[in-house]
Structures are given as C-alpha cells and as structure tokens.
C-alpha cells in the first residue's frame, strides 16, 4: 500500500517535471539551446494563473491567459534573444539564457513582491479517495494532463510529416528551407508550444502547492536539464519516461535514502550513473 502510494506520488511529481521538460527538450531538439529561461515562463504562467484567477474568479480564464501569454513571450524570447545568436557556440545561448532567467526572477520579485502569491481560495483541492488513497483533484488532473498532452506531442514529433519536418530544421535549417519547410515558422511554433506547456506546468504546480514565488522556477530549470539529457536530448517520449522515472525514484529516495542524499542530489546521482553507463542517455537522442 505504501509502495503504491509512493509510486503514485512519484508519478504526480514526475508529471510536473515532464510537462516542463518536454517543452525544453523540444526547444533543445530544435535549436541545440539549453533554454534555462524556460523556467522563467513557468513562473510567469504561475503568477498569471493565480492573479487572473483571484481577480476574475475563474481558473479556466487563468489557464487560458497564462498559456497564451507565456506562449507569446516564449516566441518573443526566441525572436529577440536566440535568433540572433543561433550560429554562435552553444554556451553563448546558455549564458544569455541564464542571464535572462536571473533578470526574470528579479522582475517577478519587483513586480509581484518577494512573498509569493496564493490563490485566495485554491480551486481543485477536493479530495477523492480511490482504493483508500487520498488524492486531490489537482493531482489527478496533473497526471492526466501530462499523459494526454505528451502523448499527442510524441506522436506528432515521431510519426507525422510535420514532426519529421520539425526535426529536419534541427539538422540543417538552410536545407530544410530548400525543401519547403519554413524554419522560422517551425521555431515560432515550437517555442509557442513549448512555452505554453511550461505555462500549463506552472499553473498546475501553483494548484498543487498553492504558492507562487519568484524563485519557483529554479529547481525545475536545472532538474529538467538533467531530465532531457536522460531522456535522450530532443526525444519527447524519452523525456516523458525519464521524468516519471525520476519522480518515482525521488519519491522512494526521499524516504529510504533521504539522509544520505537529498532529493536534488538523487536526481543528479541517477543522471551521472546513467550517463557513465550509457553516455547518450537512456533513450536514443531522437
């Protein structure tokens, strides 16, 4: 029973990782950019979700505003930040992204204050008991959202012409243009979708913890970097599995080896061990 419950908790945690990490892996897959500022959009969405919900009393409106805004901001970031430095060495975009993320964190603090925001009355907190396991509605929704969204995405990326086209722009944007794939449009689209996913994750996490802080993106930002590597950079399905696996390992790890390694260290120990055995990640880099 405890094991099942730990497993489920791991899946819930892993689902939030997955939704963030998949956006990141898509973007990485597309541009070979470790887009740390992705976590800034996650935070932005959480703030918007809470603010709008508190203001207008509608969570759905909050989600819509948060995803659309984050998606658009994501596209703007691509356009203004990454596009001009795409053909520079990878660390350039990485550092730019980190700088941007620091600035975003600070902006959130200056705009929304340092204390964090909460829902004035948090939605989706009603408890459902399934086989003796207490779950909040928001937890169940997190897992379902994850599976549905990512399932669709993985299918698009791996199996459809559009997906193959996306991936072609990764290898050689100039040539893909020569075969009728507009790399710019693909990038806008991927940034929009990826950022919107981060936004969904942001609102979900806000529901789960009822707390939105300027620094809430920090842990996801680097943990999802680890995850996308484990999942085989650019591989949507691999990222999903890696996220869930990590969630579950963390859940058990916190309980059984928590006094040897803390949660974040468990994630990275797992990562380092896997990469030592298999330098290309758990799954094929798509």
């Amino acid at each position: 029973m405890l094991f099942i419950e730990l497993f489920i908790q791991g899946l819930i945690q892993g689902s939030t990782y997955a939704i963030i990490a998949v956006g990141l892996t898509l973007i990485y897959g597309l541009l070979r950019v470790l887009h740390v500022a992705h976590a800034g959009l996650f935070t932005l969405a959480a703030y918007l979700g809470v603010t709008v919900t508190n203001q207008f009393g509608s969570l759905s409106l909050g989600i819509v505003v948060a995803t659309l805004t984050s998606g658009i901001v994501g596209v703007v970031i691509y356009r203004l930040v990454y596009e001009p430095i795409l053909n520079k060495p990878p660390y350039v975009a990485l550092i730019a992204s980190i700088g941007l993320y620091i600035a975003m964190e600070e902006l959130f603090r200056l705009i929304f204050g340092p204390f964090g925001l909460s829902f004035s009355s948090a939605p989706l907190q009603n408890v459902v008991v399934i086989f003796g396991i207490h779950l909040r509605a928001c937890q169940i929704i997190t897992v379902i959202t994850n599976v549905v969204l990512l399932g669709i995405l993985a299918w698009i990326a791996q199996k459809t012409r559009v997906g193959i086209g996306w991936r072609a722009t990764v290898d050689d944007p100039e040539m893909s243009a020569s075969f009728g794939i507009d790399p710019i449009r693909v990038r806008y689209l991927v940034f929009f979708v990826g950022s919107a996913l981060a936004a969904v994750a942001g609102v979900l996490v806000a529901l789960l913890t009822n707390l939105v802080e300027p620094t809430m993106g920090a842990v996801p930002s680097y943990k999802s970097l680890a995850i996308i590597v484990l999942g085989g950079l650019g591989n949507v399905f691999g990222t999903l599995i890696a996220s869930l696996a990590l969630g579950v390992i963390e859940a058990f790890g916190t309980i059984y080896i928590g006094d040897f390694l803390d949660r974040d260290a468990i994630a990275f120990a797992f990562l380092v061990v896997v990469l030592m055995i298999k330098p290309t990640g758990l799954f094929k880099s798509r």
């Binding site: 791991g10 603090r109 809430m216 309980i255 803390d262």
Partner: protein, 359 residues
Amino acid sequence: DDTIKIGLHVPLTGFAASDGKSSTFGAELAVKQINEAGGVLDKKLELVIYDDQANPSQSIPVANKLIGQDRVVVGVSGSYSGPTRSAAGVFQEAQIPYLSAYAIHPDITRAGNYVFRTSFLGEVQGRAGAKLIGEIMDKKRVIMITLKNDFGKSLAAGFKEKAADFGITIVNEYEYSMKDRQFGAIVAKVKADNPEAIYASGYYFTAGPLISELRASGVNAPVIGQEGYDGSKFIEIAGKAAEGVIITTSLDRDSKVPETANYIAEFEKLAGYPADMVSASVHTAVKIAAQAMENAKSTDPVKIRDAISRISMKASTGTIEFNALGEVQKNVQNQIVRDGKWHHHSVIDDPELLAPPEK
C-alpha cells in the same frame, strides 16, 4: 555628525528576499519610533542597509563596507546564518558590536565578545518544541519532518536532545530541502506511520504546502512548527489546513505587553501586512542597539558593547538579557492558528530548558 549610523545587512534579492523585506520594515519601524521619541543621545538614528543575497561571501565586503566606509557604530544582521556567521567575524575583528536578529547558527556568537544574538538558538527552540508536544499536549509517538538546513538541523538536534525527557518516542525522521514544495512521498509515509503528532521544521513557504498536503491526504495528527512558520503568509498558503497548527516562536500575537501589542499594530500600519517573527526580531535588535547607546552615553564601540552585555530591556519579542556568550534567554511563545489568525496557545518559561550555552 548629527546622526548615528546603524548598519543592517539583509537579503533583499535572491531566494530569501521576502525575509529581507520584513527585516527592513522591522528595522525602519524601530528607527522611526526611536527618532520620533527624540533619537539617541540627541542625535538622529540612521540606518544603512545593504543587500547580502543571503550569501556568506557577499556579507564580508558588506560588513567591511559598513565598518570601513559608513562607519556604523553597531551592526545588525537581518539575514540568515551563513552571511551572519561570516559577517560576525569581520565585526569582531573590527571590534564593532554586532547583533544577530534571527540567524540561529550556534557559532555566530562564538565569533567573539562583540557578537550578540537577540533570538533563540535553534536548539533551545527545539527543546521547547519537545516540551510543548510531550508535556503540554501530551503526545508521545512523534514523527519529525526536518528541513535540511542549519535552522532545521539545529531545531531537530534540540528536539531530539529533550524528546526522551518528555516521554516522546521519535518514530521516524524525514528530511527535505529548502527548495522542496511538493511533499507527496513524505506525506504518504507519514500517513503509513500514523503518528500522534508531527514536529515539522520549515519556513512558511515550505510549511504551507506541506501541511496542505498532510491534511489533504487524511493525516489529522497535530502539527507543531516553529518561528519559521510565523507570519500570515503561512495561513494564506495552507488555508483551512492551517487551522490548529501550533508553533514555538518569540512573538505573542495576543500579548498584552505594550511593547509587543504596540509593535504588532504599528508594523501592519507601516508595512501593509501583519507582523512576523523576522521583522520583530530585527526591530528588537535595533531597539537594543539604541538603548545600549543611551545606557553607555557614548557611541564608543567598547562602551556600547559593555552596555549591550549588561542590558535588560523589554522589546517586542520579550525581555532581552544576554549571557556571557552573548545569547539571549527569554520565554518561548506558543501560538496556534484559529479562524485564520495566530493566537496565544501557551508559554514555556522553564529557565533550565531554555538556557542557552554559556560557552
């Protein structure tokens, strides 16, 4: 010069910025009150505030700047243990009195005789927690959920030290890190452990989500926290789940003591949100510094130091007196959440239990 400068370092940016903000308000309130009452030694008191990002390497140049450039006569830390501990060494070396408002690292006062602390040591509060659970509440099977930083660790140490004395069996201890906000795994295990009470260290931003999750998963055992929870934000985050949570702290919301009651009222007026422990501690520290100067009738650091060591003063967080090490001994205020507000629960005044180390 017609002002006397007090130096304050706080985390204005970075992960601890919220406490930095409260600290700043607490200090500003103290200065405002003092200046309105005529200042110190007929001069106005002036605050010099710098950001240390709660980072131990940042606080060293900050301390040196306060001492060397701004020539403050007293330093106050409104920051966490790391930066406070490294700044303490600098103040000690420069022989400028230094008051740590709420940092709990045991070695801070060991930096030397110029360093004082106006709040409890983590251990002391942990011991009080043991008494609260084992004796006052009479719960014996306890689970500990410990925040993995200096604060949580020293609380846990104090708690464990006295647990047996109050008949408490510690069934299990789980640790989490400062950055955790989701506690599903721990909660699942706690549920399986089925304790009578839960001693959980943390800050409002970890405790809020933790306690919501505990309650949602059907764990109904009472939760005992500490001053890290203190503040309205905790209740805002945890909502209904916060009801009945008890903490050990130094600020009694229902206090009839004028210093405290007055502080609580004035703070909310100034800051726009209810008072918390952090701000009260910094408020206390600044008041002590001012009082010490009055007592010493001088701004000479040596004299101020002596005055601080001899001080006995009622402040917002209780009556402050320092022992030989520079630690304070005062009563622990237990507060409980009722109807979405902090209220008086009980007081622990057992001098032996609360005795800070002398060396």
